[in-house]
Symmetry: C2
Subunit: 572 residues, 2 copies
């Protein structure tokens, strides 16, 4: 494409509202245009990236045997009422009524719609399994949209849904889709991690679920992974064990010590001259299940943190929340000095598995300005409950193999999930089984954020000059700039442009009337993999082009005969 | 695709709500699935057709130098307020508020959005002309959606917008896009007509506009065209002249005749034994322009009809509507017997140009149960106003060349339009001109209904057995059915399937356990161009396949060696 005939404008200023690199760079490089808060138009160069990502995803889904369809953007409310999500989804679902006063919404997700299509089409086990997918616009009415495409309101997703007669079949297709996702992210050239995630209350206890995380410093999620064993999980799901256990096993008496004004683990341990791992942290939560409520006291090694998801899952409740001051009072628990002893009213007590029942710890004394030292669980409780509740952290060891884990930050670009019969059951779907009896089919769902992938690519790879696109999804492959004055030279440059496009490269030809510095800044900002410069003086003197690798910054002089080969090499 | 692994279900019953063939056949052939009134999911086979149409359109737009982008489905209300269309578009625009109480709508069209993008990107004449397009979902909240994809609420459109410094440039790009549209419809294999349309109050008087109409009996629009000269226009715009003028020029006196109870042209002429062309039809309209209103008396040859668009354009008003009875009374006009004489109050009188001022006609006498014969305009009016107001009809002659015109019915699948400065002016867009002065750029817009094209293809070509797809957009090219019992034969059929796909054909392999009749019915309903049948007995006896051309119904026996060639020939 000749830039003189293009539709492209770059910007020097970083818009104040743009907080993360992908948002800043996409606006500055003229790839997107803000329509409203969290709603972006994709300008021609930006849209080429989106379409390339779509195409890679489409090819890998097709290869995995999935069938593409297109569901409606606007879906009727009655489907959501049938599944019970019309009210639950309230928050982010953009609902409205049409002229005929019917409830409608813009789909934030399509489990209901696909289940409706499925039940009207499939009647027999002979037609299963089947996996259907679409690439379509979705909308989530975030109250505070931010981070550009990363957490926009309108976005493009690939969502797939599989249907099965049994768990074995679901497992097989799940694994196939897992591989298809790996193929997608491999082709995109991403550094990514497929991490075990928490199924929450979406699936049953044997439901598998994985997140695909693109590694980036600006990622919102924490990933625990082990380079040696390949173990990877998001921090909510990760199960590891403590590495350094410098616990104190020397026999000692329970003793009350004054710790005036020392209400944090750090302050108390500092004051007592002990490592934090020789203290116990006490947290009180209220668990809520329907109309019911109860409190739980959670005890962790002093330098560990609670994983709230693990606690919630262990309790099997809808929500958990830190207990209010008045609740603490009810139990006679003294804020800052809470401990497992002298509790006024019966309370559920859970010890984290990392606490050794034989070791001695400092705990709160249940009394303002006092702690107890020499606390041993085994002495105080005949049958204490030990549960894995701690948040995994860097330096922990894997459960199997005891290898150290690391922590990275990631951007969730895909999520695959075994839904089980959640939707088919709620919507009364049955299929005739092999045995002539009707059966409720199982489902899997497989999401991949197309526009999020575009932003994640930039978060993972950019520098202070601009974007560094993965080769497979760069809007074009080659930025060909001429610095020309004479008409004769321009004609020569036109010939080179033709030669490059004839060789099959996607080329942006910067034929604008502008200086070298201006053009190079634009080229770096846009971040195409290869820059080829044809300067009038250089070319006339030596017949050489300057070829620059955007990623490494390597510059080489190449003559016309070797130009195509050199570009191929850099794009390989 | 093996049907045993597909997601496809056909239906025998024609849904009661489906009134036209495309709607009936798409539902019966399992191509679409109704989500809500006027909102359809595209099932895998149906979506393949949509994607093929999109791809043809995309290729032709790219070839014409247009740049693809993607605008948002949800657009902010303030843009529409800026152009002044927020209230005007009220009817079909689905408006709502988001959580932050901002006005939003689902785009029914994107002139405002593209103009906003343009003004933030382009500053100089050097960057023009440019044509941008998108293929995207749109929504129009029709109160009575019907006819399936033909007049649905959610639909896919290609909409393009061009920007120019002057009319000459707009004309050139308009012509280029006109050609691109012809290329699209040629490739689709459509019988279509590019017809002149009425610019209405969208453009200025020199604005060109054309509709692309697919010829089909079920079309909603009437097209006037001349096979000899190539003239074509929709009936609202068409300018023709009457062919047979058997007017009465014999000198005669104005004479009142009793025509008791004969209040229609047909009855009066019958009663008087004269052809209707020797009478004059009188119509009274109220014209409304802002707060102003006035009446107009329109006179046409008795067997002609009024073209309301022509009348409205001639008057240059917002609306016209037949005058109410009380208005008629005010002017002393007697319903059923209205004529141009003896009007109580001054009124604008317009004669259609087809009326010969020297001919004698029968007209209403302005008196219950009476008409006048021998009425001659020249005798009664010194300066009568003659305007082209009649609706063109079959048998008329072209203005230039006097060749007879025909009438066809058409489905509007595309509409191209010179918008002029309507939006750029309203939204305050300026661009720096060659002379250093700012200037308001001109726009063109170019719509093409992707999903409507799919329905139109079926309306144009189907029979009582099902759809007959144009080759370029059939979901697959070949329907390969085996009627097999033995495992050995199945393996042979698998080989043939592989041979056909290896040859590059898109093949549906009907490997379902079902009889020949069942499979052939499905094949005819789905309407792929070529059906290849491999029957176990036939194949074993003679090694022959049956190859059927869906369009002509021609059946041929072909041996394996000639199979690929034969299919190629049928698809050519």
């Amino acid at each position: 494409m000749r830039l003189s005939q293009g539709f492209w404008q770059t910007y020097k200023e970083t818009p104040a509202e743009a907080e993360i690199p992908s948002h800043q760079l996409m606006l500055r490089a003229g790839l997107i245009h803000k329509s409203a808060a969290g709603i972006y138009n994709y300008l021609p160069l930006g849209y080429r990236v989106v379409r390339k990502v779509e195409q890679i995803v489409r090819e890998e889904m097709d290869k995995a045997g999935c069938l593409e369809l297109l569901m409606t953007v606007v879906t009727p409310g009655d489907l959501w009422q049938e599944s019970g999500r019309w009210d639950v989804m309230g928050g982010e679902m953009l609902k409205f009524k049409d002229k005929a006063d019917r409830d409608l919404c813009i789909s934030p997700t399509n489990e209901e719609a696909i289940t409706d299509i499925f039940r009207k089409t499939i009647k027999s086990y002979k037609q299963l399994p089947v996996t259907l997918y679409q690439i379509n616009t979705k909308f989530r009415d975030e109250i505070r949209p931010r981070f550009g495409l990363m957490r926009g309101r309108e976005f493009t997703m690939k969502d797939a849904y599989s249907f099965h007669m049994d768990k074995a079949c679901l497992d097989k297709v799940y694994d196939d889709l897992f591989k298809a996702y790996c193929n997608v992210f491999d082709r995109l050239g991403f550094e990514y991690s497929a991490v075990e995630a928490d199924a929450g209350n979406m699936g049953s206890s044997d439901s598998k679920t994985h997140e695909f995380q693109v590694i980036a410093n600006t990622g919102e999620d924490e990933i625990i992974y082990c380079p040696e064993t390949g173990y990877a999980a998001n921090s909510e799901k990760a199960q590891t064990k403590r590495a350094n256990v410098d616990f104190d096993f020397n026999d000692q008496e329970l003793k009350e010590v004054e710790t005036k004004g020392k209400s944090t683990i750090a302050d108390v341990c500092d004051f007592l001259g002990k490592p934090q791992s020789q203290s116990i942290k006490s947290l009180v939560y209220t668990a809520i299940q329907g109309e019911e409520e109860f409190e739980v006291l959670v005890l962790l090694v002093g330098d560990d943190e609670l994983n709230e998801v693990k606690l919630k899952n262990h309790l099997g409740v809808d929500h958990i929340t830190p207990a209010t001051d008045s609740k603490l009072l009810e139990y006679g628990l003294v804020k800052g000095y809470i401990g497992p002893l002298d509790i006024k009213k019966e309370i559920m007590i859970l010890f984290d598995e990392a606490i050794d029942p034989k070791a001695y710890y400092t705990v709160g004394a249940q009394k303002e300005d006092y702690h107890l030292t020499g606390y041993q669980v085994a002495k105080e409780f005949e049958e204490a409950t030990f549960v894995d509740l701690r948040l995994a952290k860097e330096g922990d060891l894997t459960i199997e193999g005891s290898k150290p884990v690391l922590v990275k930050r990631g951007i969730e670009v895909g999520h695959i999930f075994q839904l089980g019969d959640k939707y088919t059951k709620a919507m009364g779907v049955t299929v005739l089984g092999n045995d002539g009896k009707t059966q409720t089919p199982l489902m899997g769902c497989y999401g991949l954020g197309i526009t999020r992938v575009v932003a994640a690519a930039i978060e993972q790879c950019h520098d202070d000059k601009g974007i560094i696109w993965p080769k497979e999804i760069a809007p074009y492959q080659v930025y060909f700039a001429t610095i020309a004055k004479s008409e004769e030279f321009k004609a020569q440059a036109d010939d080179v442009y033709k030669k490059l496009t004839d060789a099959g490269f996607e080329v942006i030809y910067d034929d604008r009337k502008a200086g070298a510095g201006f053009k190079f800044k634009d080229a770096d900002l846009l971040g195409l993999p290869v820059r080829v410069v044809m300067g009038e003086r250089d070319f006339k003197e030596s017949g050489e082009f300057e070829v620059v690798d955007r990623k490494t910054g390597d510059k080489q002089k190449v003559k016309i005969d070797g130009l195509v080969e050199k570009i191929k090499e850099l794009l390989a």
